[in-house]
Symmetry: C2
Subunit: 546 residues, 2 copies
């Protein structure tokens, strides 16, 4: 059987545009003389459409397109992810479906049975689970069609399974000859390797060919990395789709392939590619062409600027340097050097005079109160105002530059440096920021080494250094990773790192910074647990570990 | 059977404090010679604890307290909501449970079967559903114990049911003699009446007494209004708990009561009570005693100030008037009049000079670009900075003053008037703001009539009126209510209101303002569908209705 995999980048809600893309690729595949062409999960409406699904007019538009697509089909199979709905006496009757069309008709629908409802996934909110799974006979094969999570419950792969049923196992038991899975699986570090491990466990065991088509593209904070996979009967990965871009390729279940051995690139390369796609798609899908960044002379904003240039081109990136009386001399100089290296335009707009004016206004109110975090925040907010003013006046997308370490401990100013549409490196720890910067400089100096080598500082008071307020980043980031991503608690962290006092304080600071993160820009997700939609803590709470 | 209902206000995560409260009330109830005392859903950890549940140390602390509470019991039953956990080969094994203790031991656990996973509820994310329900014999009665949603699936009440099983029906079928439900049901307009209708349908039919204990108190954005209910064998409501405060009362299933007829107060009174509790508990539970508000002379900030005074006392509320060159003469005067009426302190801090300073800085950048929304936003942001500076310096809680109509259409400035910890009237439409203000003035002028009668204006450019940019609020709010709360789409809205052009534009503006609401403060919820946690739309999307 010859199967075309169409790894597309849909826009959420753009039912017309997405279906047009589907039909164009389908007709191309017809000419390639394939048996079937397959598109990712919810390809018609994009994944995840969230509460758009609750709009009946939205579902009606999807249903209309389902029919329209089916009518366009010849004898070549068209398999795609979509929403279907039917009246049921209990529950919503709304399903996350794989729809197979040919000969001008909808021939077969397999609804998703396993609905992920953890981390960034809320599918139980929207969908009913399939009650059963069925094979579909097509061109002499028994097709086992499943949707994403349906294939993620293999008994031999998981030490502890999440779901009671295993729909793919059931289909194999019923006599499947070809496995097809349509998917939308967001990137996180090592995730592609995990997909490979899980799918190869399955295919090795059952000696059935598998075509697994993934969506690609960024949808606000979620980055889908593509990398669709085909496995032969020996469980060898024989085809791997492009990453971070659309792709189209044909899998012949009877052909012989060289096994693909390289699944995932280096951490640095994958993260840079992810974030670049994140910025590019946010801009493209919201209609922005240009971006603005506050360039402080520090490493975070330098990295974000580099990514913005990769995503949008140097001609579309503008930066503003906003020195204060506490800025080191090097700050503006280093920032200018980077801007010149990258070939982007910049403005230098000091904040002193505006800052002084605020202080004048508040003199009768603050009286003799000594300067404190108020004045530091105020400077950050003036900078935020500058950037937003530029963004508003010239329609530039403002990118925020805070890293995950800062966001974790709330070392950031609401309405100040947290201002912006998307937090580009909000899921990248400070120590990882250094790694990425060094990687970028691996062949030539792009980010000036001065920026990489200087001690991190917010430069909001004389001689300030991050490490006056925070533990050293090497230490902090280890705590953060264990706590946020590995779900370790204080005992295990202290066992590994020592310094109970400091660990406890860090954990409390994380827990107490929820109010800031509530109002943060969406964070481009590159780890298993990013701040934002997939991490939901109460703002008002008094959890104190014993 | 004599049942004590303990309608408590837990703090989320404060396992120690909540359990101390439970044990104190239990011992008090022992002296009252009751058979059983019941506490609300998740009383031990507060509802909703969200991702705290995913922390094993948190669950361990809950498990420890479960045991500790059980050991404190005499022969009097102690029924409370908590988390339980057990090893299971598939799934998490974590349950939302009702735990019954007496004679020093945990005697019976009934897990919740129906897990709400819509609007603000995410219970499938955390809990496994009970597989079965069981009666428990206690002091000669067959107790049917259920948790919140378990009692919300009655076949005769709902035209269309959400769940296949009806655990309370099953328990009744098995021979229940007393129904007990422990609950956490957040306020929305008419919700108490709905609870009454649903529960009385059930009890009338089955002629069984029901004790239904609710949680009370605000948890960030969710306001639990209390109003626990007891129904006698005739299905008459015989006891109704206090609203918006803790309560404790005894229900004798054999006694005769006068039926309670008045379930819910006026819309205005309920909403004011809800919002007052929302502000009070946000402050109390986060350790703030004082609040600050930007008082513009308009009706929104006037209402918020009134609520803050109700919640925290006049001595704990400070306001700042921040006139610009575009402020009308009346603005400051009206604001001062209100402050004096309410007996609160105020500062008048004009923004002109700071604004001019910004314009100076941007002159070489903006060059000859005409003033536009940039300059308007900048003024709003200077005000936001003023308020945050005061909040930072003196540790005052900043309350935002935007209403639901503005939030819907994005008529608000990010990092400007949207700055603050909690959006007090973010779920109250502008026309409802007027209703509340008139209600507050029903006996005497508290909010100056000038404030109520003036045309709404953001006063960010000469002669600006809201209705230059927005449809008249009477019309706008009808669109919003149909769209946001009744899930109507354009055809139905136009059928009722006409003016397709304007309706279409409003709906598009709502859909396109998601990026602002993402970064908004949590909104105190008083309607069936508030902005915030319970309403989840993609930020980047291109849904366009046909």
């Amino acid at each position: 059987m010859k199967i075309a995999l169409a790894q597309i980048n849909p826009i959420i809600g753009d039912i017309e545009g997405n279906s047009k893309k589907i039909i164009e690729i389908y007709h191309k595949a017809e000419k390639d003389d394939v048996d079937l062409v397959m598109f990712p999960e919810l390809a018609v409406c994009g994944y995840p459409p969230l509460d758009l699904i609750e709009k009946y007019e939205f579902r009606k538009a999807v249903a209309d397109v389902n029919k329209k697509l089916s009518r366009e089909t010849s004898s070549v199979g068209l398999l795609f992810g979509t929403i279907t709905e039917r009246y049921e006496s209990v529950g919503t009757g709304i399903y996350n479906s794989a729809m197979l069309c040919y000969d001008g008709r909808i021939q077969f629908i397999q609804n998703k049975m396993l609905l992920p409802n953890y981390d960034v996934f809320d599918e139980v909110r929207y969908f009913e689970p399939a009650k059963d799974v069925f094979l579909h006979e097509f061109r002499g094969e028994q097709l086992a069609i499943s949707v994403c999570e349906d294939i993620w419950n293999d008994d031999d792969y998981w030490k502890h399974r999440r779901y009671h049923r295993d729909p793919v196992r059931e289909l194999i038991g019923n006599g499947a000859t070809v496995l097809l899975n349509i998917s939308a699986s967001p990137y996180a570090h090592n995730r592609r390797q995990e997909r490979y491990d899980m799918l190869s466990t399955l295919t090795r065991k059952d000696r059935l060919p598998l075509a697994y088509v993934c969506t690609v593209g960024a949808q606000t904070d979620l980055i889908f990395d593509g990398g669709s996979m085909c496995f032969d009967r020996r469980g060898e990965l024989c085809l791997l789709g492009k990453t971070y871009e659309e792709d189209y390729f044909i899998f012949d279940t009877e052909a012989k392939y060289e096994p693909v051995r390289s699944i995932e690139k280096s951490f640095e390369q994958e993260v840079i590619s992810s974030l670049t796609l994140g910025v590019k798609d946010y801009a493209r899908k919201t209609g922005f062409t240009k971006a603005i960044i506050g360039l402080s002379g520090g490493i975070d904003s330098a990295l974000v600027t580099y990514i913005a240039v990769e995503a949008l081109g140097a001609e579309n990136v503008h930066v503003i340097m906003m020195p204060s009386q506490y800025s080191s001399e090097g700050s503006v100089k280093d920032a200018v050097k980077l801007a010149e290296k990258l070939g982007i335009t910049y403005d230098i707009l000091p904040i002193n005079e505006v800052f002084e004016k605020y202080l004048d206004v508040f003199k009768p109110v603050f009286k003799d109160k000594p300067p404190d975090v108020t004045e530091e925040n105020l400077q950050a907010r003036i900078r935020g105002n500058y950037l937003m003013a530029y963004s508003n006046k010239f329609s530039y997308l403002l990118l925020t530059t805070g890293n995950k370490s800062e966001m974790a401990v709330g070392y950031a100013t609401l309405y100040g440096d947290m201002s912006g549409a998307i937090a580009v490196i909000g899921d990248v720890y400070k120590t990882q920021v250094y790694k990425l910067a060094r990687y970028i400089n691996r062949e030539e100096e792009i980010i000036p080494w001065e920026i990489i080598h200087k001690a991190p500082s917010a430069e909001l008071r004389p001689g300030q250094k991050d490490e006056d307020s925070l533990p050293p980043y090497d230490f902090l980031d280890q705590i953060l990773e264990m706590y946020l991503e590995e779900y370790k608690e204080i005992e295990e962290i202290v066992d590994r790192l020592g310094n109970r006092e400091m660990v406890k304080k860090v954990l409390e600071t994380i827990d107490n910074s929820e109010f800031k993160r509530k109002q943060a820009a969406p964070v481009l997700r590159v780890s298993k647990k990013a701040f934002g939609y997939g991490r939901r803590f109460p703002i008002v709470q008094k959890w104190r570990r014993p």
